[in-house]
Amino acid sequence: MKSHVWRPLVVVLAVIALVLVAREVLVPADFGIGARGYMYGWHRAGNEQQWKDVKVKYKTAAFCKDCHPDKYDEMKESPHRNINCENCHGPALNHPDDPKSLTIDRSRELCARCHTRLPYPNSGRGVMKGIDPKTHNVGLDCVTCHWPHDPRKEGHKR
């Protein structure tokens, strides 16, 4: 190492040392190889918990059942029994604390998601009861004539 020819190498080694020190400081302690090996599991372990901690917003009908048993039971007897409450009322979030009351989507567009007539033979849509929203009682909310919790009944009587 006496020759001056090795001087650049010394600089290079110093730079490498610097990067290694920086790694020690900047890389999170829990960074490592996970269950799926280096190719698919190279990650920060703490992030898994961060994803698990994400807040649940849709609480499902089981959450509504205790306080609104009448509504729940009515729905379960109707052709709409498989639709979750929160599809129209949700999401529940921390109801009844926050929000105190849930927004209700009574729009024609909501009903039209399923009940716009689309004649598709290879899909359940083809046999569903459907209308053409462009001609069917334009301007009126569907709930005026149809009771959404049980569409066999008549609509809202205000």
Partner: protein
């Protein structure tokens, strides 16, 4: 607005999340690294293989390659959604990804070029530092210069004949080591694209080789062009200076030296160009012949939607025309300048057609996406990934070269 929505026009069926995510900066990135690699290979032709005719341009292209180096990184940084986190590539590299190698290959290459430059210019550093040291009562500027040059010598002040010969040998070894690293630096840029199995246009093992060949082509072309331009400026300067100093080389001497260098270099340019075009056409023919599932949509992109970009601009204007220009006997400086500009355009369009063309069709093979280059920046996003961003990237190496030339005078010996 979602990233990509500002410049993507969709047609027929594309998946809802598909946009042109890799834009002009990702075109600039392989273009700039290509220039780096090409310029270095050119300088190595002299240092390693002793191609004497290239002596005039070797030193120049080495410094220019160094000036281009930081700019190979710049487009990537401008493209990142989280540019401040770019350092993570060095911190937690995931080597199953082609991009992870960037940090290591890039810095290895940078260190090789820097060391080579140090050996080439060490004598100059020492002489300048000694000359400044001799000055009594240095001004602040001179003191700063003295410090800079003293640091640049790295404490090696010996410029005896033996020491300088050791430098020469080191340069040769470094240049030899640099060639594979330069090729790797660029070949792996091709690998970044070639290894994306989700993209029908990119996925070919030929991609790295095609990228290396066209990189050398573009690097040599840019060196010739910049060489011609700087010689032009020097001619103007020498005309004025010769009135005072008649011992300087005359106009005719400069001109003939220039013509000689340009003619020699353009021969190497042609060689690499033939290799690049052969490989590209091989890839195209092979795709058409094997005609796998993706060929239907690729054909409609290559022969219909991008026809002008690929066949008129890239192959016609960028390859065929300069090819003819260089082959006509009696190459003049002006013709060489036009030829190299067209070659650069051709290589740029090749990058464009790969990067943008590869995203011109949906991975559902049922729809298309059209890229509209944002000309006027109306947001940070369209500034970074639009025309202005690309121009910044293209301009920076020339500014850097200007600064580097102050410390490492490229043309000193021929003065």
């Amino acid at each position: 607005m979602v990233h990509g929505e500002a410049w993507t026009i969709k047609e027929f069926f594309t998946y809802p999340n598909e946009y042109i995510y890799w834009t002009i900066q990702i075109v600039m990135y392989p273009f700039m690294t290509g220039l780096v690699a090409g310029a270095f290979v050119l300088s190595s032709l002299y240092h390693v293989f002793g191609v004497k005719q290239l002596k005039g341009i070797a030193r120049f292209s080495l410094v220019f390659s160094f000036a281009l180096l930081p700019v190979a990184m710049l487009p990537l940084l401008m493209h990142l959604q989280q540019p401040l986190r770019g350092i993570e590539v060095m911190l937690t590299p995931h080597f199953t990804s082609a991009i992870a190698a960037f940090g290591i290959v890039f810095s290895t290459y940078g260190m090789i070029v820097a060391s080579e430059l140090w050996f080439v210019f060490r004598k100059h550093f020492v002489e300048t530092a000694l000359a400044l040291k001799a000055i009594e009562g240095r001004t602040v500027l001179q003191q700063g210069q003295y410090l800079l040059f003293s640091i640049l010598t790295l404490g090696a002040w010996d410029i005896s004949h033996d020491a300088l010969e050791a430098d020469e040998r080191a340069v040769k070894k470094l240049a030899a080591a640099g060639i594979p690293v330069a090729c790797f630096l660029h070949g792996y840029a091709g690998f970044i694209f070639g290894s994306v199995k989700a993209n029908a246009l990119w996925m070919t093992p030929l991609m790295p080789v095609i990228f290396i060949c066209s990189a050398v082509v573009s690097g040599i072309a840019l060196c010739i062009l910049t060489y011609i331009l700087t010689m032009e400026i020097r001619k103007q300067l020498s005309r004025r200076r010769r009135l005072a100093h008649p011992e300087l080389p005359s106009m005719d001497e400069l001109k003939s030296a220039e013509a000689h260098v340009v003619a020699m270099t353009s021969r190497y340019l042609l060689m690499f160009m033939v290799a690049a075009i052969t490989l590209e056409l091989l890839d195209l023919i092979f795709r058409g012949y094997t005609a796998v599932k993706s060929w239907d949509i690729l054909r409609s992109v290559i022969y219909e939607r991008d026809f002008v970009n690929i066949f008129v601009v890239q192959y016609g204007l960028g390859n065929l025309v300069p090819f003819v220009l260089f082959l006509i006997p009696g190459l003049t400086i002006r013709r060489a300048a036009v030829g190299t500009v067209l070659v650069l355009l051709g290589v740029f369009m090749m990058r464009w057609n790969v990067v943008i063309g590869g995203q011109a069709f949906s991975s559902s093979f049922s729809g298309f996406m059209h890229y509209v280059l944002p000309l006027w920046p109306d947001s940070m996003e369209t500034l970074k990934e639009g025309l202005v961003g690309a121009l910044i990237v293209a301009g920076v190496p020339f500014c850097l070269f200007y600064l580097l030339n102050k410390v490492m005078p490229v043309f000193k010996e021929t003065h």
